[in-house]
Each structure stands twice: as structure tokens, then as C-alpha cells.
């Protein structure tokens, strides 16, 4: 009896404390909202937002609803996260491998990069790129094109835009290529298990991936043109690019800072992963007659990835959360559009902040659920 009480009483006390705190806060919120005449509710989402957004991936202007503005912000956040993840992964892998290089100079350079960029606050780096580095770029009228088609100016980066015809056929051909690659891989695995024969799966896959989409250009009626940005004079002092695709400087500064900062952490993950493979593994693989390529592919990488992937996913998550710093340089992401402008206009602090937090929370939680599933799948099954 005494034993049971010992377990129940602390639980009851904790529960009571939490309920009391929450009740107190909710009661206060109720009183405050009553006093100010605000009703709690999400009806405002369908109202007209009446503010414009500089940069948007989907069709949007002031006549659309707040819900649409939320979507614009969310997509902009995901865009930054996507580009940042690609950038930081590439850079992180290169730097991580460079830190293991036998070349002293390369190792030191990589170490210097890691030690410098991860010990300076991300916000400071974003400010640096946006307010100091990118502001030093020339005006559109003074810009020399890079490779004839890229224009890096103070107003942003202007690149050629793809103009597709029959894009859907091209798209289907890629899907067909992926499906056939999967089929061939499965077939090759079976072949190896049953008869011990090996197919050159990699070269077949690459070939399929190139040839099938190429065929659509030749016989499928797909064509690709480029719309190159051209500078046009609007008035005496104002110049503007026509055609092409304009990438705003906010986006460049943000992705650059996020990529460079997160790459330092990913580099450390990669280094730890490769160092975590004991020498005995490689020697054992060599002693059963595997070639160096096979050792890397069949023995080292599968084990190293097991160590690398979980912390790296964590870094991707951090990058996504850090992309909210966009608000500091007025890149229209979720926080700036929704928790900034929309909140100012509607004054609905509780609803808007909760929606914003809930959005980030659901991104994080879904990725961590995925991660846990993956970890369980690849965990070493010991007897």
C-alpha cells in the first residue's frame, strides 16, 4: 500500500501543478480577451489580407486571404530550407572528407573553415552577407554578365529561365526511367542471389536516366528554350531586367549563410562517421578479396552512413528552424509574413503565434518520427 502511494502521490502532484498553471494562464487569457473585446477563433484566415509580398512562389496579391498568405510564407520557408539543405550537404561532405585528408594544408584549411563559421552567430552571418557583402555588388547597369547569361547585381541574381514545351512528357519519361531502374535493380539482386552473376547496375541506371529523357527531346516533341534576362532602361536612372528569373538578394544571403553555417556541423558528422569505422573492417574486407571500390561501397559506406545520417537529419531540422531568421532581413518567410505582418494587421496574437509554432512543430515531429523509423530499420540487429 505504502509502495503504491509512493508512486501515485508524486504523479498527482505533478499533474495538479500542470493543470493549475495551464488553468491560470487560460483564465487570464479569457479575461484579457474579454476586456479587449476579442473573440478566439480562426475565422480571420478567410478574410482578405490586403498586403503584398515581394517574393512568392504561387500567385498572390493583397486580394487573397490570410490563409493564402500563410501558404506563401510556408512555401518560401520550405524553398530556403530546400536550397540550404542541398548547399550544406554538398559543402559539408567535401569539408568533412577534406578534414580527413592526409594533406596537411587541406586538413588545416577545412579545420579553419569549420572553426570559424560555427563559432560566429548565424544571425551575424546573415547580416554580414546581406548588409555588407551583397551590398558591395554593382548596380544592374554596371554589371558584367558571368558566362554571358548570369547577372549578379545589388538587386539580386538574374539567371536564364527554362521555357518548356510538353514538359509533362519529359516528366513522365523521368518517372519511367526511375521505375525501370528499380525493376532492374531488383532483377540484378535476384540474379546475384540465385546464380551469382553481377550486372553493371550503376552504369545501366545512369544510362537509362540519360537516354530516356533524351529520347523525348528527339521524338517526344519536348523542347527546351532559355529566356535570358535582358537589361532594359525604364527611365533615366531606373533599370530593370526583362525575362529570365530574378532571385532576390534576401534569398541569396539567407541560403548562403544557412548553407555555410550548417555545412560546418554536417562536416563534423561526416568526419565522425568515417572515423567511426574501425580499421579492422577494412582489413577484413580486403582479406576476403574485395577490391578497394567494393570495400568502400559494401563495407565502409553502409556502416558510416548509419553513423552519419541521424545527426545530419538533425542538422537539416536545425537548418529549417533557423530559416526563420529570414525575418531579420525581411525575406518573406512564414515568420515574417504570418507572425509579423498578418499579426500586426489582425492583432490575433494567440491564434497566429500558435499556428506558426504548430507548423514548425509538425515539420520537426514528422521528420523525427521518420528518423526513428529509419534508425530502427538500420540498427544493428544483435542476438
Amino acid at each position: 500500500m505504502n509502495f503504491k502511494l509512493n508512486k501515485i502521490i508524486p504523479q498527482l502532484v505533478t499533474l495538479l501543478a500542470v493543470i493549475l498553471v495551464f488553468g491560470f494562464l487560460t483564465y487570464n487569457a479569457q479575461v484579457n480577451m474579454d476586456n479587449r473585446g476579442i473573440e478566439f477563433g480562426f475565422g480571420f484566415l478567410s478574410q482578405e489580407s490586403s498586403f503584398d509580398v515581394q517574393f512568392s512562389l504561387i500567385d498572390y496579391d493583397g486580394s487573397h486571404s490570410y490563409a493564402r498568405a500563410y501558404l506563401v510564407g510556408l512555401l518560401n520557408t520550405l524553398l530556403v530550407a530546400f536550397i540550404g539543405i542541398i548547399l550544406s550537404t554538398i559543402l559539408g561532405i567535401i569539408v568533412g572528407i577534406a578534414r580527413l585528408s592526409p594533406n596537411y594544408l587541406i586538413e588545416r584549411t577545412a579545420a579553419f573553415y569549420v572553426e570559424f563559421f560555427r563559432n560566429v552567430p548565424l544571425l551575424l552571418q546573415i547580416f554580414f552577407w546581406y548588409f555588407a557583402a551583397l551590398r558591395a555588388l554593382p548596380l544592374p547597369q554596371d554589371t558584367e554578365p558571368m558566362f554571358g547569361v548570369f547577372f549578379l547585381t545589388i538587386k539580386g541574381l538574374f539567371v536564364p529561365r527554362f521555357v518548356w514545351e510538353n514538359l509533362d512528357i519529359f516528366f513522365y519519361s523521368i518517372i519511367a526511367a526511375i521505375i525501370s531502374i528499380i525493376v532492374i535493380r531488383n532483377y540484378a539482386r535476384k540474379l546475384q542471389e540465385n546464380e551469382g552473376k553481377q550486372l553493371p547496375v550503376f552504369s545501366i541506371s545512369v544510362g537509362l536516366f540519360i537516354i530516356l529523357p533524351l529520347l523525348t527531346f528527339l521524338i517526344g516533341g519536348v523542347s527546351l528554350n532559355f529566356s535570358v534576362p535582358v537589361l532594359e532602361q525604364m527611365s533615366n536612372t531606373s533599370f530593370k531586367y526583362k525575362g529570365g528569373l530574378g532571385i532576390p538578394p534576401e534569398l541569396i544571403a539567407l541560403t548562403l549563410a544557412l548553407g555555410l553555417y550548417t555545412a560546418t556541423f554536417i562536416a563534423e558528422c561526416v568526419r565522425a562517421g568515417i572515423q567511426g569505422i574501425s580499421k579492422g573492417q577494412k582489413e577484413a574486407a580486403a582479406s576476403i578479396g574485395l577490391t578497394p571500390r567494393q570495400i568502400l561501397k559494401l563495407v565502409v559506406m553502409p556502416q558510416a552512413l548509419r553513423i552519419i545520417i541521424p545527426p545530419t537529419t538533425n542538422q537539416y531540422l536545425n537548418l529549417t528552424k533557423n530559416s526563420s531568421l529570414a525575418a531579420a532581413i525581411a525575406y518573406p518567410d512564414l515568420v515574417l509574413i504570418f507572425a509579423g505582418t498578418a499579426l500586426m494587421q489582425t492583432g490575433r496574437a494567440i491564434e497566429i503565434v500558435s499556428i506558426t509554432m504548430f507548423t514548425y512543430l509538425s515539420i520537426s515531429l514528422s521528420i523525427s518520427v521518420l528518423m526513428n523509423w529509419y534508425n530502427k530499420k538500420i540498427a544493428i540487429k544483435e542476438k
Partner: protein, 423 residues
Amino acid sequence: MNKLNFLRPDIENIKTYLYLGIFLIFISILDVSLNAFFNTNITSFLPNFISFLLPLILGTVGLHFIRIEFSGIKNLDLLNKNINTNAFNAVLTLLIIFAIIKSLPAFLSWFFIDATISGDTKEACTGTGACWTYIKIWLNRFIYGMYPNELQWRINISFIALIALAFVGLLPSEKIKKFLTLYYVVIYPVIAFILIYYLISGGAFGLVWVETGAWGGLSLTFIVSFFCLIFCFPVGMFLALGRRSDLPTVRYISVGFIEFWRGVPLITVLFMSSVMFPMFLPEDFFMDKLVRVIIAISLFEAAYVAEVIRGGLQALPRGQYDAAKSLGMGYWKMHIFVILPQALKLVIPGIANTFLALVKDTPLIFVVGLLEIVGMLNLAKTNPKWLGYAMEGYVFAAIIFWIICYAMSKYSYNLEIKYKTDR
């Protein structure tokens, strides 16, 4: 003399290869250096493209010549082993050396040679280099924010006192050492709070009241990180214990709390503390925004600290728990005297990383209108008298943050070594 085979340098003609190789490397570095420092191109008679690539080609060939295994010359072997193992490495080595030589003059002239530090106004900065005058004039604001000049001794004294009090732990006396944990966890924070409340903010003992809106600069960075650090550690510890508890209610509440804070970005938490939190307080209750920010950051970082400590708790072998229980220790006694001291020792690097992240996150308090050093930089940058010196400001702040963070990480590394016990 044997026949020379230039594709395969061997040890028999080592002198010839060595002289030839060093000569080529010397030429390539000389070419790049002349280009970088004096802006002259000694190979301008060649076509543009070849002239551009020539140093790299010459250097690679030169390094190829001196790549002789077991040459018997100690320095050469060391060089070959470290930066010249194969052609690919040689090219990378050369590229890095060239990049350093190329960027050195621009860096030096901007940072030192053409930089200005004299004078008191913008007019003093006429050179093409950095304008350190700007930093010099604004230094006071960058450190103390808008805190009144004549009262800044109060910040200085309280910081010196806090640092002095923190070193009490070094006093070697076995009798007092028992209470050190108590001192650092309970007494020291209370003293720190009283010092900062009465000395920096004032309002009593004849000191003028300075509202928190005027605080700022580097001192605010320190104040915020200091208090968050002190508060988030115990909260995180309780959360970690809660997450490992046998009691389902406690466990689920801890898990929910930790996962919530870890799932949202700090900037939204600060938004919450500034616009949403006041709605949840009683009507006539006012809480200063600095206090709200410190609470928000502490709770946020506590979740991360909790996860780090949980890692340490999980890493301890079960035998430690069983041994403590078999001695008749209860839950708290077991954790305070057996489990936590060992677990915390294990997670020193993780805790240090979290604290580093905390320091690096403090600039975010600009969201609620508090201006620590980065915020002050942005303010100074828009001052009409000092337009156009953003670069200097950010470089200055980056150096300061780098020193703080690097020192912290080195210190944690030392702690890790000091408390490392073999098991």
C-alpha cells in the same frame, strides 16, 4: 650519371630532380606573388589562358620532380608525406597556397595598411581600407548599449564582482568543497540576481533607475547568456530525470515539454514571449521584457540541455543504479550522489555545445526590441553620420563572438580532459 627519366624521378639523380623541381616551384610562386603584390604579370607574353594556368602547371611539375620516396632527406620526406602524396594532392596544395597569396594583399591592405583608426569623425576615413575609427567612436555603445555614460561604472563593478564570486570555487578547502554545488546552483544565482537588479537596474540605495530598454551591447549579451545559462541547467536536469522516470504522468509531461520546445524555432518562442505571453498574465501584472526573454530562452535551452543530460544518464551502466539501491539509497540520494555526478561528467562536451548555441542565439532578442551587440551594430549602421561601414561592424562583432565561443569550446575541452575517468 644514369639516364634521366622525367616521368619517374628516382633517387639516383636526386640532386638534379631536386634543383629542377625547386626551381619550377619557386618560379610558379614568384609569378603568383608578383601578380598579387605588385600587379605585374611576368608571363604576359604568353596567351591569356596559358599565362593564367602557367603557375599551376609549373608548380605541379615541380612537385612531381621532388616526389621521391625514401630520399633520405628528412625535410623532403616530411614534405612529400604531408602535402605531396600524389598529383591530385599536389594540385590542391598549390591551389591553396596560391589562394592564400592572392588574398593576402587585399586582406592586409583592407585590414591594416589602408585602414584608418585616428580621428573622431567619418571625414577621417579617407583611405580605401577599413574605417576602424567607426568602431573606436561607437565602442562605448557596442559594449554598454544606451546605458548612460556616467553610470557605466555600475555595470563594470557588478561584472567584476560576479567574475570574482565565480572563482570562489578555486579556494582550496576540503570543508567548504562539500557545499560548492549548493553554492553554484542556489547561492550564486541569487547573489548574481541581486547584484544585477540593484546595481545595474538601480532604483534603490540612492542609485538612479535605468530601465532595461537602455541596456544593450555586449554587456546585455553577457547578462542574457549568464542568466539563461544558470536557469536552463537545473530545469534541464529535472526534465531529463522526468523523462527517465518510472512514473508515467511525469514522463509524458516531460516528453511533451521537451519535444515542444525542441520542435519550434527560437524566434517564434521570442515572438510568443513578446506578443502572446502578456495575454496570459493577470491584467495588472507587468513583467519586464528582459525578464520575459530570459524566461523564454531558458525554457527553450532547457529542453536541449535535458536531451544532452538524458544521453549521459542512458550511457551509465545499470550496475551503478543497482549498487546505489543496494546501499539503501532512495531516488534523490541515488541521483545526487551516484548517478548525476557521473552522468554530468560524461556529457560535458554536449552541455558546452548547448551553452555555445545559447550564446550564439542571444542576438535574436532583437525581435523584442532589445539591442545587444549585433542589434547595436544595426542601429549604428543606420546612423546618418556613419553610413556605409556595415562591413567593419560585422567583422568586429564576428571577431568578438569568435573569441568568446572559441574560448568556451577550448575550456570545455580542458574540462573534459580534467574529469575524464577511465572505466
